[in-house]
Symmetry: C2
């Protein structure tokens, strides 16, 4: 099979042996696979794939058709449209995924949308609901609202009855973010627009002090992106005074059983929203697999609202 390959921090497309599904696993004929910030970090050698995942084939998510079933895999039939997050190896013609990580693709979604859905919607749902416990009527601040996780979080929070404010550095994207249902702000001076019950931090540590200052009593901060920096001073007395908590999280390193739980939650709480057309996967641009290097360039350049997706 052909697969995106990381070699000496460069991106190429090379021939690899076809993977074979083990017990409980499914061989997926990949149709689309989204790019994510973690791919950029992995390419730079900063974020190795977890044990058991291909080390040199990136790709944290995929959508495609069931091509073969491993022993005892019973959740799906040959030809079913499926999608999943995976520890790596999604950006290839074929990928092996445990059946309990797979989700059915809602009928309304085309391949690029399905291939760009799992990672950002799972991440956003886990962060704002499972961890921060966002409630109807609460005020959510999304720090970095124009990215994949940001646009997913805005839509999910709105669908759950929360009020959403999002910071968007790129002025030209703010109108698109507003169209998703958020108040879109320049990051400068965001704290004046608080208080916020939940802050989803996708930018980094430089925001921490102002996040805490803008937090409501009992507020929660969830940090899942630190591209702008990881270290910051924290005032624990301020944290105590707000009776607040700060979560740090990643999806990728979690064991199968925890990832499977997030997939079941998405099937129950998020996929019906896609069936109903209430939320969408913004796809900024697609590239065929063979042009993966161009796709990585495009992702790294930024400035787009929505996902960059490889099609196979």
């Amino acid at each position: 099979m052909r697969a995106v390959t990381i070699r000496d921090k460069g991106i190429s497309v090379e021939e690899h042996p076809d993977p074979t599904p083990g017990a409980g696993e499914v061989l997926v004929r990949v149709r689309a696979a989204g790019l994510n910030g973690a791919d950029m970090m992995q390419r730079r050698g900063l974020y190795p794939a977890p044990p058991g995942s291909p080390q040199d084939i990136p790709g944290l998510e995929l959508a495609g058709e069931v091509q073969a079933l491993g022993e005892g895999a019973t959740r799906f039939a040959l030809g079913d449209r499926v999608m999943a997050i995976t520890g790596g190896g999604g950006q290839a013609e074929l990928a092996v995924v445990h059946e309990r990580q797979l989700m059915p693709v809602p009928a309304l979604l085309d391949w690029p949308q399905a291939g760009g859905l799992p990672e950002v919607f799972t991440t956003a749902h886990d962060a704002i609901f499972t961890q921060a416990g966002l409630r109807p009527g609460e005020r959510l601040l999304v720090q970095g609202g124009a990215g994949g996780v940001g646009t997913a979080a805005i839509q999910l929070a709105r669908a759950a009855g929360a009020q959403v404010t999002a910071t968007v550095r790129n002025e030209s994207l703010r109108e698109d973010v507003r169209a998703l249902g958020a108040q879109a702000l320049d990051p400068e001076g965001f704290a004046e627009h608080g208080p916020f019950d939940v802050v989803l931090e996708l930018v980094g540590a430089p925001n921490l002090a102002d996040n805490l200052a803008a937090l409501a009593t009992g507020g929660r901060i969830v940090v899942i992106g630190v591209s702008a920096g990881a270290k910051s001073e924290i005032n624990l007395l301020a944290l105590m005074g707000k009776r607040a908590r700060i979560h740090g999280s990643t999806l990728r390193a979690r064991p199968l059983e925890e990832k499977a739980l997030t997939a079941r939650l998405l099937e129950r709480e998020v996929l019906p929203l896609f069936q109903a057309g209430a939320v969408k996967v913004p796809v900024a641009q697609t590239f065929p697999l063979e042009r993966a290097a161009d796709a990585y360039e495009c992702f790294a350049a930024g400035g787009k609202l929505g996902k960059i997706v490889l099609t196979v």
Copy 2:
């Protein structure tokens, strides 16, 4: 009535008007009232009492007998032995407390034990169970294990089937802490004894980096004391890698309904342990109300295991 009084950062005992119970409130004839770190801070002007509590009479907890009932107060009868946390005003001959904050005093407890129970056991229970979600078999680290909250946390965690390690700076107190069921360590180098699932931080920000380093995946840090300092650097990437969370908390500023909830939880989950003799309130020393200034000196000097309690 006579009451401990804060005046120009000094402690005296002065005459005050008797308080009268409003609707749903109970007038308690105080028999014992424990001292807490918050009293020391309030004396220094750093921790004002919340609105609605006496500003010049300290005391966050009390035990005594029901002397009069406000309109509609039905949970207790005249003469009942009761105890409670309160926003302030506990160190006096009389105090008014809402009946939903009051708990019955277990039969095995004498007045000094009852007067020193509510604050530290409510704080410890709320921190390690309600917030950190400590589970049977998990490993708890108590940073500052010889204080009132520390000794309460050690006993509650042991009774719930957790393994407990405690740092104790004062070497002469370590044997007493071991007798409560914890491994007692010098604070220096504590991180080598991890990993820990939950850290109860009673000392301050200087421990934060090592707490995070010693935390297990999915671990929780609860900060409720920062006498050694409130500010520290935090590495959010490390927090993400551990999929960890940091809570800050105080009890005092919470609204009545939340304090009442903590009282109901204590009645259900903690007071039966006192009835069974499975946990105890270590009382280091008692002072009559008129010697409050000496009691404050004794508390500030430290070096004792257990509560300093005023008796009335």
